[in-house]
Amino acid sequence: MTNALIKSFLEKKSARRLYEVAEKNPTPENIRALEEAFKQYALRVKQISYIKRLIKGYSIDFDKRIRSKVVRQSIDDEEVNYHNLLPSRVEVETEVEPNELFTDERIHRTFQSLKDIQKQLLIYKFVKNLKNKEIARLLGYSEQRVSYNIKSAIEKLKKGA
């Protein structure tokens, strides 16, 4: 007998006795007595394992939900902090004078010819030292859009130099 449930059932002395009696003398009464004792035992085991799985599974699920909630909150807080730390968009644009950034007159002129968004992104990236992900979140752009515009702005600056 390899079935774990039967094995554990027969470890009980009273169950073992019922089984031996039913095997030696398989009358309907003896078989019914064994069956009833086993059904009670098996049902109890099933109930216990169901409740255990319910409690454990639900606790794990609860923890996952809490963790994702905490992560979401921390991301939101981060956004608020960045907004507080950073000057507003207008301030950033006026605070840094492009002629303070470039000593080379040609690069300065090329920078001035860039689109507003490209100028703004370059300042965030190289003056404020923000990551693309942070810039994207701040400005409500996709990361790809930020990355593409920064690359094309750098290309234009190289050509103008």
Partner: protein
Amino acid sequence: MELEYEEILREFRPLIINSLCNTAPCYREDLEQEIKIKIYEKLHVINNLKAPGFYELLNQEERV
């Protein structure tokens, strides 16, 4: 064999406490409440579980 709601909570208290210990303290009360609600919701499932018969299981095993 019907299990009462209170009986389940009493009997599985150690397991519930163990689960609470693995959760951040500020969320333990919430988790405990939710576990109790979940057990209450599943009470009919718990009390409608079916157990196999002894010889039914034995025959299954022999067939395998």
